[in-house]
């Protein structure tokens, strides 16, 4: 089974201004009445937001997608009849920021999601091609120890 993401669909994807990362798992993969039930509960004070979901208090903050990256929402056309069948995913929406929500706790740089984003910077450093100059320097410094 192979999974293919049709990257051409990115061109036609609409931009979403309202993407929320919830601190709970909602066992549903379908549309929901967010604009009616969720958006009115959102209050903003400075950078921090509060809201409620099912009566529980949430604290949120808008996080930007790091530059050079795009947030995408993938949707699948049709349903597979067997597990082995190939999957084709299309980009239905893209976003450059999202609201990150914690359950009753102000978002901080200690939160998993914010820490996971550190990998993006780290990976670009790790995967950056090293110039011959740099590699010579680092070898010498190892020798010196």
């Amino acid at each position: 089974m192979t999974t293919t993401i049709d990257t051409r669909s990115l061109l036609f994807a609409s931009t979403s201004d309202s993407c929320h990362l919830m601190p709970c798992k909602v066992h549903l993969d379908d549309e929901a009445n967010t604009s009616i039930f969720f958006h009115p509960s959102i209050k903003q004070e400075g950078q921090l937001k509060t809201a409620a979901f099912r009566g529980r208090p949430l604290n949120g903050k808008v996080l930007d997608i790091p530059s050079g990256y795009t947030g995408v929402m993938l949707t699948e056309r049709g349903k597979r009849s067997t597990e082995e069948e190939d999957r084709l995913l299309l980009v239905s929406h893209k976003f450059d920021h999202f609201t990150y929500w914690n359950l009753d706790k102000e978002p901080s740089s200690d939160d998993l999601t914010q820490r996971a984003m550190q990998w993006i910077d780290l990976s670009s450093v790790l995967h950056r091609p090293i110039s011959s100059e740099e590699s010579k320097d680092s070898q010498e410094s190892v020798k010196g120890q």
Partner: protein, 301 residues
């Protein structure tokens, strides 16, 4: 009672108060505390206080206050307007605790129960009266929970005030009856004038009493139910009636602080497991940088 401030933001709590005349600041006063709308699954709970000079207890008693529950809505409205034309004799304050505040408090990480929330609101109101300069010497409170413990708590907060906490204080002390009328009038008005942020319009705006057992209230809960979000924020999500409907008809939702029902599966390893031969090739382990951030490589979707 002008509730425009509450109507501007029905998610927030709101304090509404009468003017405080000079007599209430210079003369010793008795103050009554009572609540309205504690049981219903719908709408705000309202805490009310009323205060008047001790010297005028008799005059105050003759104003015909009675426990708000024994009066009709019309009678309560009449008495409330009488209260407002006697502001040289008394003063009042109410705090509207929004259903969103009640739900959020009771469903936060460290649960804040309704009794503690009620006690804190009563204390806040008495403190506000003191801040306004009211000279309180006697405090009468309709109990929430154990009256002995509640009385001890209040005495600790207000050591210089004579505190009486009693069951049915609203029928024993006219100053508590008056407080209960203020609270009930505020609660009724807030419920009657409720406008849904969720754009719900009801054919017949009748929620019934708001008590879980009322068929009209049940009907409203069913009609306004959303499988993902539950209910409009007019509903107290922390009430078992609401929680049960969400559990039965709603999409299931898992929270990080949910209590684990299946804790037993990964219990302590048996002794023999320690003597098992380790597999030849130890599994490649992720660096803890990734483990700590719960990052895993994705090979399929």
């Amino acid at each position: 009672m002008d509730q425009s401030m509450y109507e501007a933001d029905r998610q927030a709590n709101c304090l509404i108060e009468s003017p405080v005349c000079n007599r209430l600041k210079s003369e010793p006063c008795w103050l009554g505390v009572d609540e309205a709308g504690r049981g219903p699954v719908l709408g705000p709970m309202v805490y009310g206080i009323c205060f008047s000079p001790v010297a005028d207890k008799e005059k105050f008693g003759s104003m015909g206050f009675a426990d708000s529950k024994t009066l009709t809505e019309e009678q309560r409205d009449n008495i409330f307007s009488e209260i407002n034309s006697s502001l040289d004799l008394l003063g009042w304050m109410v705090e509207i605790l929004s259903p969103a505040y009640i739900s959020n408090s009771m469903l936060r990480r460290d649960k804040y129960n309704l009794n503690a929330l009620s006690h804190d609101c009563a204390i806040r109101l008495v403190k506000t009266a003191i801040d306004r300069g009211v000279n309180i010497t006697e405090l009468y409170v309709d109990t929430v929970g154990d009256p002995v413990k509640y009385q001890a708590k209040l005495k600790e907060v207000f050591p210089s005030i004579d505190v009486t906490v009693a069951k049915k204080a609203d029928s024993l002390y006219p100053v508590v009856s008056a407080a209960s009328i203020c609270a009930k009038v505020a609660r009724d008005k807030a419920v009657k004038n409720w406008e849904f942020e969720e754009n719900i319009t009801l054919d017949e705006p009748n929620y019934g009493s708001g008590y879980p057992g009322d068929p009209k209230t049940k009907q409203f809960l069913e009609a306004s139910f959303d499988r993902v979000f539950g209910f409009p924020n007019f509903v107290r999500f922390s009430w078992s009636t609401a929680a049960l409907i969400m559990e039965k008809d709603g999409v299931s939702v898992e929270w990080e602080d949910d209590e684990d029902d299946e804790g037993g599966t990964e219990s302590t390893p048996t002794v023999s497991q320690f003597f098992k031969k380790k597999s030849e090739r130890p599994e490649l382990k992720q660096h803890r940088f990734f483990i700590q951030r719960q990052l895993t490589p994705v090979t399929s979707l």
